[in-house]
Every structure is written in structure tokens, then in C-alpha cells.
């Protein structure tokens, strides 16, 4: 019983915390595909900038993962 509320907390943290970045990355990739379709010559530029923005969007879900890991392993 003592550990249960922390486990639920960890599950909620990562579960809700992955919704936003998931949507964000999906939109990002969609717009990148669109831009690629309109301008195939700029593929290298588009890809570089897309990966850069991807890393930032991913970082938000990593924050949620860190909180979940903190709840399970440390507290």
C-alpha cells in the first residue's frame, strides 16, 4: 500500500506527459512532409531543421519521464 500511490503518480506523469509531445512531433513531421513536397530541392535544410525542432519537442516528454523515474526509483 505504501508504494502504490507513488506508482500511480509515476504512471500518470508519463502517461499525460507524453500526449503533448506526441501531438507536437506529429504536427511537426506533417508540416515538414508538406514543405518537402512543395520544395524537394530544400530537402537537406528541411531535414536539418526538422530534426532540431524534434529534439526540443522530445525533451518535454523526457522531463515527464524523469519525474516518473524519480518517483519510482528515488522517492
Amino acid at each position: 500500500m505504501e508504494g502504490d500511490i507513488k506508482t500511480i503518480g509515476a504512471a500518470i506523469a508519463i502517461g499525460l506527459g507524453a500526449i503533448g509531445p506526441g501531438l507536437g512531433i506529429g504536427l511537426l513531421a506533417g508540416k515538414a512532409m508538406e514543405a518537402l513536397g512543395r520544395n524537394p530541392e530544400a530537402a537537406g535544410e528541411i531535414r536539418q531543421n526538422m530534426v532540431l525542432a524534434l529534439v526540443f519537442a522530445e525533451a518535454i516528454s523526457i522531463y515527464a519521464l524523469v519525474i516518473a523515474a524519480l518517483l519510482i526509483f528515488v522517492a
Binding site: V55, A59, I62, Y63, V66, A69, V74
Partner: protein
């Protein structure tokens, strides 16, 4: 891929599923080993602390496994740099070619982002980039996290007791898990097929009233047998950025240097005037205060982005190696290589970006 290769790969996948944790549920785990003990803080390399300070504030100084890994990175970078610098030729050899490619890629990126200040910002950003990328990439080599020393059950229970006392509880010996190694003596190991070699402390030990742990005799214990050693594997080496201290140190160095650059370019009042400005009305004053909070948030975000990616990657590799023993981690190792490179790039690029934003004088907004 040709037909025989596909068949071999499929057989490999099926064998590894049956040999791992999933197959273990059907009694078949012949390839796996018990899941490694994952914990957030870095573990010490020696059982006793390196230096015992008496003070309760600083605590004992220990040499941790992530510290040793970052020393290895420093040695690698120093050796490569000295080798390249000893004889620089017009037509570069292979190591010099690699160094030149890295430098050109990064200098191009720096000129793109920082413009005129690229040469000034380049040393710090390049050092951060090289340090992070070598740290991340050697952290996925075999041997990191799998070779270590075995902590005795008494120490494990002691750590669990200390942790339980912080929550004002008592340690429950049925929740403290140990791994059971084959063999006794100086070298013990977890061979393939040892996936059930784990036990809880209560299955082999009893906690006496005076606090020390007594081993149950052979009839009463069912955790381990003769010829086996229970304990917990503490690795000698662990990826340096999977400990919160290294990313925090890098983030602090980067932010302090960015503010140093801003002070040296804009002067004390020019730079402080960005944060506490009375000249442009009350709204800009509040914006300035929010920018102070933004600076602190940048340190936190630098740290947690790097730490979270590398720590989560490490946990992912451990869990995948547990589920699909030999081949399950191959695609994830590829992902870790890419993630390590991207995180190093992002850290260095953000340093350059914030540096060039900080030295831009406010009138150009």
C-alpha cells in the same frame, strides 16, 4: 535482404524471445540473466568511501562509476588531440581527416548561428560538443554496466534501512531484491540461463534484533544454494551523462560563460539593463523580471534534456536486454548512437544561440 539472411534473422528473433523473459514465463528462459538493478544516483566504485570527511554537510567523498567514465573520455580526447597535433600534414591521414571533418562541420554550424561571434564562442561550444558526444558513445560499449563488483547483502540491507528511516518506516526484507551469482570466490558471474537467479533478502537471511544480518542455514533458506553468492552487481563503469551531476555541471558552465560574454561585450549596466530596465515602461520591467526566471529555466532545461535522454536510453537498453537477450538491443543501440549525437549537437547549438542572443544589444530587438 536475400532469403537465407531473412530466415536466419527470424530464427534469431524467435530464439531470443524464447530465451528471454517472455519465454521464461513458459519455463524456457535459457539465454537471459536477471534484470539489472537500476538506480538514479551513481554508485561508488569501491565499497569504502575514498575520503571520509567528518562533516555531515558535505558527506563522504566517493569515486563513482560515472566519474571514472568521464575520466576515460578525457583520456580519449587528450590522446586523440595529441596524436593529431604532433604531425599535421598537408594531405591529412585518417585521424587528422576525422578531426578536420568534425571541426569543419561544427565551425560551419557556429558561423550559421552566431555570425560574427563564431570564433569567440567556438572553443566552449566545441569542447561541450566533444565531451558530451564521446561520453554518450562510449557509454553504449559492452562492459559498461555489466562488469562490476558485488555488494554484499549486509550493505544492501543497510542502504535499504537508511532509505526506510528517511520515510520513518522500517525496512521490509521481502522487498529488498538481490541477484544470485554462480560461483564463490573472487570472480562470480551470471551465466546465460540464470534468469531466475534473483531472490529477496528474506528468503535467505534474517535480521537480528541488534541489527546484523544472519544467514539462515541450508535447510531453511530457499533463495540460494551452496556454490552461489547472493549480492547486488554494482558496475565499474556507467555512462557519464546518466548521472545528474555531469549535465548540471555542463549547464552551469555554459550559462556562466554566456553571462560572462554578455558582461564583457555590453558592460555591467548594459547587460543588467536587460533584466531590470526602468527605461522602457512598466511592462518591459515585468518582462525583464520574467527573463531572469527564464535564465534559471534554461539551466534546468539544459540539464534535464541531456540527463533525461541518456538515462532513459540506459533504462531502455537494460529492459530490452532483459526481454530479448542477445539481439533485442541492436536497434536500440543504433537509436542510442543517434540520440547521443543529437543531444551533443543540441547542447552546443543552444549554447551558441543563447550566447549570440546575450551579446546582441537590446536596441536591435
Amino acid at each position: 535482404m536475400s532469403r537465407p539472411v531473412i530466415i536466419v534473422v527470424l530464427i534469431g528473433i524467435i530464439v531470443s524471445i524464447l530465451g528471454g523473459a517472455i519465454g521464461n514465463a513458459f519455463g524456457l528462459g535459457f539465454l537471459g540473466s536477471p534484470i539489472a538493478h537500476i538506480q538514479l544516483p551513481a554508485e561508488p566504485v569501491f565499497p569504502e568511501p575514498f575520503l571520509e570527511t567528518g562533516s555531515g554537510l558535505i558527506g563522504d567523498i566517493t569515486i563513482t562509476n560515472t566519474m571514472v567514465a568521464s575520466w576515460i573520455t578525457i583520456v580519449i580526447l587528450a590522446v586523440v588531440t595529441f596524436t593529431v597535433n604532433r604531425k599535421i600534414r598537408e594531405v591529412p591521414g585518417r585521424i587528422q581527416g576525422l578531426a578536420e571533418v568534425t571541426f569543419e562541420f561544427f565551425l560551419g554550424l557556429a558561423k550559421n548561428i552566431a555570425g560574427n561571434n563564431a570564433r569567440r564562442f567556438f572553443p566552449l561550444a566545441m569542447t561541450i560538443f566533444l565531451f558530451i558526444i564521446v561520453n554518450n558513445w562510449i557509454g553504449i560499449l559492452p562492459g559498461f554496466g555489466t562488469i562490476g563488483w558485488v555488494e554484499s547483502p549486509e550493505k544492501v540491507v543497510h542502504h535499504a534501512e537508511v532509505k526506510a528511516e528517511k520515510d520513518h518506516g522500517h525496512v521490509n526484507l521481502e522487498t529488498v531484491h538481490l541477484q544470485v551469482f554462480e560461483g564463490t570466490g573472487p570472480i562470480v558471474l551470471l551465466p546465460p540461463g540464470s534468469i531466475n537467479n534473483h531472490m529477496t533478502v528474506s528468503e535467505g537471511y534474517v535480521l537480528e534484533d541488534d541489527g546484523h544480518l544472519r544467514e539462515l542455514d541450508t535447510e531453511n533458506r530457499h533463495g540460494f544454494n551452496e556454490g552461489q553468492t547472493p549480492g547486488l552487481l554494482i558496475p565499474y563503469l556507467r555512462s557519464a551523462n546518466s548521472d545528474l551531476n555531469t549535465p548540471l555541471a555542463l549547464a552551469l558552465v555554459a550559462m556562466v560563460t554566456i553571462h560572462w560574454w554578455a558582461f564583457s561585450t555590453l558592460g555591467v549596466f548594459g547587460h543588467l539593463g536587460k533584466f531590470i530596465n526602468f527605461k522602457q515602461g512598466p511592462i518591459m520591467f515585468v518582462v525583464g523580471i520574467l527573463e531572469i526566471i527564464g535564465e534559471l529555466a534554461r539551466i534546468v532545461s539544459f540539464t534535464f534534456r541531456l540527463f533525461g535522454n541518456i538515462f532513459a536510453g540506459e533504462m531502455l537498453l537494460i529492459v530490452m536486454a532483459f526481454l530479448l537477450p542477445v539481439i533485442g538491443i541492436i536497434p536500440f543501440l543504433g537509436m542510442e548512437v543517434f540520440v547521443g549525437f543529437m543531444q551533443a549537437t543540441v547542447f552546443a547549438v543552444l549554447t551558441l544561440l543563447f550566447g549570440s542572443m546575450a551579446v546582441a544589444s537590446h536596441d536591435e530587438h
